[in-house]
């Protein structure tokens, strides 16, 4: 089983993360300094090379997003 994490690149604004941070502050969680979001896909049945290909071709738009592949 592979875990694929897709998230915005460091320099690209993550509006969902920013809004979550704002919400946390409003709820009194002043400790929160930064929130980033990611989307996770679990994929079974492919080898690592195929998962790489899936990420580059489909799951991530590498102009705005980075991806990580973890073996579970």
């Amino acid at each position: 089983m592979w875990e694929v994490r897709i998230y915005y690149k460091k320099g690209v604004q993550d509006p969902e993360g920013d809004t979550t941070l704002q919400g946390l502050k409003m709820l009194g969680f002043d400790c929160a300094e930064e929130v980033k979001t990611a989307k996770i896909f679990w994929i079974r049945g492919c080898d690592r090379e195929e998962v790489e290909k899936i990420c580059r071709r489909f799951l991530a738009n590498t102009t705005s997003q980075d991806y990580e592949i973890l073996q579970l």
């Binding site: 915005y8 690149k9 320099g11 690209v12 604004q13 993550d14 509006p15 969902e16 920013d18 809004t19 989307k39 071709r57 489909f58 799951l59 738009n61 590498t62 102009t63 705005s64 997003q65």
Partner: protein, 272 residues
């Protein structure tokens, strides 16, 4: 083969409207083309991939708005990749022949994901709106230089947007260079503006998505492929405007979006 003779009349023009599961602006888009006197066929993507329908039989293609494949993964990505990996050759030929392709909202997202726009081996992205909201509002866009789709379009266009992922993102670190390149190539069709026609300068809600450089619509280098986030089919008639009783008087007549379809069809008739 579609008739590409010099005597092509508007009623002979055939426009292909490609739908996928979740597309929901195909009917209005078809009505817009039909209102102008041309024929439009709404065809499911699978019929084209299976070869039941050929792009060659049409004079123009429109990818309408909606939520293809439920906007899963990213808006327009599944449709875009299906086009890229199944129909790239057919699309490349269709575009190289100078035929017009228009992507509206989700259609624009698909053209970006398919890398049919902006061309030049540049890949762009449409990310979540800075507001983190689905932006469903009327806005103003200013016409820049947009090839065949914007010849008779007014300089300032009032038109609605309806998207959650309309923020154009340019490759990191190369933003200014690519932005300049797109400008020099006359590929920026529309930019968000204020009601007075001044640049939105990234301000909200004038630039509703936070799109880079206020870009609302792009074309390819040749100008015959255009993608735009706002919906011209929803500004087709004057009575579609929320304030038509104040600003536009009588309900009959056309809105600003009409001219984008008109320019597309005029181009087909005059070019062929």
């Amino acid at each position: 083969m579609a008739d590409r003779g010099e005597t092509l009349r508007l009623e002979d023009v055939k426009v292909l409207i490609i739908r996928a599961p979740g597309t929901n602006c195909d009917a209005e888009t078809k009505d817009a083309v039909f209102d102008m006197g041309a024929r439009a066929d709404v065809v499911h993507l699978n019929r084209i991939i299976k070869g039941n329908i050929s792009l060659e039989d049409y004079h123009g293609i429109i990818l309408p708005g909606g939520f293809s494949f439920g906007d899963m993964v990213r808006s327009g990505v599944i449709l875009g990749k299906l086009l890229r990996y199944n129909l790239k050759k057919e699309f490349d030929e269709f575009i190289a022949e100078g035929n017009p392709v228009l992507g509206i909202c989700n259609g624009f997202q698909a053209l970006i994901e398919a890398d049919f726009l902006p061309g030049l081996d540049i890949s762009l992205a449409l990310g979540k709106n800075i507001s983190a909201r689905f932006e469903d509002r009327w806005c103003h866009i200013k016409r820049y230089r947009g090839g065949l789709f914007t010849r008779s379009v007014g300089e300032l266009v009032k038109i609605p947007v309806a998207n959650g992922e309309g923020r154009l993102i340019l490759p990191e670190g190369k933003e200014e260079k690519i932005y300049e390149e797109l400008g020099e190539n006359r590929q920026i069709a529309f930019k968000y503006a204020t009601g007075e026609g001044k640049p939105a300068m990234g301000s909200y809600p004038e630039n509703p998505s936070g799109s880079y450089g206020d870009i609302a619509g792009l074309t390819n280098n040749a100008g015959n492929v255009m993608g735009m986030m706002p919906h011209p089919e929803r500004a087709f008639y004057r009575y579609m405007y929320p304030d038509w009783t104040r600003d536009y008087g009588k309900p009959e007549g056309y809105g600003d979006g009409y001219y984008i379809f008109k320019d597309m069809l005029d181009y087909i008739v005059k070019k062929l």
